[in-house]
């Protein structure tokens, strides 16, 4: 099965299973930039990002024998889940998943059109930076629900919290991010 770039992913996976380092590096080159962006959304510290990516790729290379690639998208999705898992494990190990609800974080509603416009036009690097400013717990649930499309029931089981806590954390994270986006937009203006 090949993609538009002419890469046979089945052969690539087959070579990786055999321990071909060239094939491993090729897979690394194809996916590392996207995986770095995924990891950076969860883990702020660059050294931690490097550790998570290293661990993720090692696990991917050792576990790829059970993976059947369909196309590039399936490989990326598979690898992304490994990176998300490793990111959450690091946050759990470092006890950064603070999910207590802070009543002071509650903000009034923000006008929708303004927020949507700001989110559509602002630089994506700036958007990433704003997400990284969120508290670890808020940022994690926002990423899992809004970006990874994981329902609150699964988020609750993954993080060991209740579904209600997951939903309320996401609500507050969204509020916080909206406030940061508008603040940033006002600064630019």
């Amino acid at each position: 099965m090949t993609n538009s770039a002419g890469i046979d992913y089945q052969q690539l996976v087959h070579d990786i299973i055999k321990g071909n380092r060239v094939a491993m590096q090729e897979m690394y080159n194809l996916t590392v930039r996207n995986m770095t962006a995924v990891c950076t959304r969860y883990v702020v510290n660059q050294e931690d990002v490097k550790d998570v990516l290293q661990e993720s790729y090692l696990k991917a290379f050792s576990g790829i024998r059970t993976f059947t690639p369909h196309d590039e998208n399936s490989l990326m999705a598979w690898l992304r889940r490994i990176v998300v898992n490793e990111s959450l494990m690091l946050l759990r190990r470092k006890k950064r998943l603070n999910l207590l609800v802070n009543i002071d974080d509650v903000e009034e509603d923000i006008p929708e059109p303004e927020l949507t416009a700001s989110a559509s036009t602002m630089d994506i690097g700036d958007l990433m930076a704003l997400i990284q400013q969120l508290p670890d717990g808020y940022r994690t649930i926002l990423n899992l629900y809004a970006i990874e499309k994981i329902p609150h029931s699964r988020i609750a089981s993954m993080l060991g919290i209740s579904e209600g806590t997951s939903a309320s954390q996401y609500y507050r994270a969204r509020k916080q991010l909206a406030k940061l986006i508008l603040k940033h937009q006002n600064k630019e203006l």
């Binding site: 321990g19 380092r21 491993m24 590096q25 690394y28 590392v32 930039r33 996207n34 995986m35 770095t36 962006a37 950076t40 959304r41 990002v49 490097k50 990516l53 290293q54 090692l58 696990k59 290379f61 050792s62 576990g63 790829i64 024998r65 059970t66 993976f67 998208n73 999705a77 598979w78 889940r81 490994i82 998300v84 898992n85 494990m89 759990r92 509603d109 923000i110 929708e112 927020l115 949507t116 989110a119 559509s120 994506i124 958007l127 990433m128 899992l144 809004a146 970006i147 990874e148 499309k149 994981i150 329902p151 609150h152 029931s153 699964r154 089981s157 993954m158 969204r174 509020k175 909206a178």
Partner: protein, 444 residues
């Protein structure tokens, strides 16, 4: 705030790329090389450990076999043989001892009539008051007794060469049973009773007494040393530490309903989750059993156990269903110590009960998790603490040959908690199982 804001975030960030950390691939490459070397060294170290254990077990086994063989050589069979020889010597001495009757020079008739070759028994004590009676009667008697004794000697020689009786100690029969009866018959022709008991008493115990042991009811003799090779299969298990089941130390669960297509909407409604567990333990063992006495035996050896536990979780939502599968495998090497008592033993069959304990060491424990989107997540949860268990069995053995027997042992085991959370034994600490195998008898 509405759904559009979230969609914008998702659209912009899901495909976003960033420059990777510098030197990342070099570190990954180095780790790959290290992990390969670690795997090789780990395999080598485990191989060495297994070899060391096998060597120690073989050495212990050889020591026990040699000790058993040497102790058997200096025990009963040789004593029995020497006892038989000693009895024969006594018998021969009695035959060669001077006969007061025949040495009576006052009776030329007696001299001529009594035949007393050296191997024939002669009266070793003074004949009673009847000695003054006709010596011819006595000579006839001694001649008749000699004939009986010749038969006895012939039988003695036959018994002495018989292997079935060589091991049996020569027990003392009531003396002169056969001889007294024979003597009594031969004296019927005499006019006066002749006290032949004195003749009989001083005779050595004839080896014919060994026939007594031969005619005893047949019982299976317990061999000194036995070896068993067994295979054990699990019948049932009870007691679970929880069917919700993935070990606590496992990594964060994989999002099951995540789709490779980021555009596909998700559904947050409650889903049905079903879990199914399957656990298959397999055990093989090699044990040596030493017989203490007719009833009791003690045994030990090596037992290898491999357990595989599979958990399948099915997630059924309104729009789609997904699954995840977790496979946990664990290998143990155990050293049992058991005591066995024979309850019933006849011919080729034996019924016995055994009880004991076992200590096991976890060689390897690994969990592997897969989802419908084929995510692979592997974790090592080897438990370095020893695992203790109590064993009780009831066994039935059938000896197909002198040295080979087949056995069937239903039994139960209970595994004591050793403090480990990931221990597969703790999922079902109480187990019923059945063993079947072969017993080899190396003793005499």
């Amino acid at each position: 705030m509405n759904h559009d804001f979230i969609d914008i975030l998702h659209d912009r960030l899901s495909q976003h790329e960033m420059a990777e950390p510098s030197g990342l691939w070099q570190e990954i490459d180095n780790s790959l090389g290290r992990s390969l070397n670690e795997k090789k060294s780990l395999v080598a170290s485990r191989r060495n450990l297994i070899r060391a254990i096998a060597g120690a077990a073989a050495t212990a086994l050889m020591a026990v076999v040699m000790w058993t063989a040497l102790s058997d050589e200096s025990n009963t069979p040789s004593q029995g043989t020497s006892t038989v020889s000693h009895a024969n010597e006594q018998f021969a001495q009695a035959h060669t001892s001077p006969n007061p009757i025949t040495q009576d020079d006052s009776s030329p008739h007696e001299k001529g009539s009594v035949k007393s070759p050296s191997h024939k028994p002669q009266a070793s004590v003074t004949a009673p008051q009847y000695q003054s009676q006709s010596h011819s009667h006595i000579s006839n008697l001694s001649g008749t007794v000699s004939q009986v004794e010749e038969d006895m000697i012939a039988q003695n020689q036959e018994i002495e060469h018989s292997p079935s009786t060589r091991e049996e100690p020569v027990s003392t029969r009531p003396q002169g049973v056969t001889r007294a009866e024979t003597a009594q018959l031969t004296t019927d022709s005499l006019t006066e009773p002749v006290d032949t008991t004195m003749i009989i008493i001083n005779e050595p115990a004839p080896p014919l007494q060994q026939l007594w042991a031969v005619t005893e009811p047949t019982r299976n003799k317990q061999p000194k040393l036995e070896f068993t090779l067994s295979y054990n299969g699990n019948l049932a298990s009870a007691g679970s530490s929880g069917d919700n089941v993935f070990s606590d130390s496992s990594p964060v669960s994989v999002p099951e309903n995540s789709s490779p297509d980021p555009e596909e909407p998700h559904n947050q409604e409650t889903a049905i989750v079903k879990e199914k567990e399957q656990m298959v333990p397999v055990r093989v063992g090699l044990e040596a059993w030493y017989t203490i006495n007719e009833k009791w035996r003690v045994g030990s050896g090596l037992v290898y156990t491999r357990m595989t536990r599979k958990m399948t979780t099915t997630y059924t939502g309104p729009d789609k269903s997904t699954w995840s599968k977790k496979t946990e495998t664990a290998s143990y090497l155990g050293i049992p110590l058991e005591v066995s008592r024979i309850l019933w033993n006849r011919r080729r069959w034996a019924l016995y009960a055994s009880a004991g304990a076992m200590i096991e060491f976890n060689l390897k424990s690994e969990s592997r998790q897969e989802t419908q989107t084929e995510l692979y997540n592997k974790k090592d949860f080897r438990d370095r603490r020893p695992q203790f268990s109590a064993i009780a069995r009831l066994g039935l053995q059938y000896n197909v040959a002198d040295r080979v027997g087949l056995f069937l042992e239903p039994g139960a085991s209970y595994y004591f908690h050793n403090g480990a959370d990931d221990n597969l034994y703790m999922k079902h600490p109480f187990r019923f199982d059945i063993s079947l195998g072969i017993k080899l008898n190396l003793g005499k």
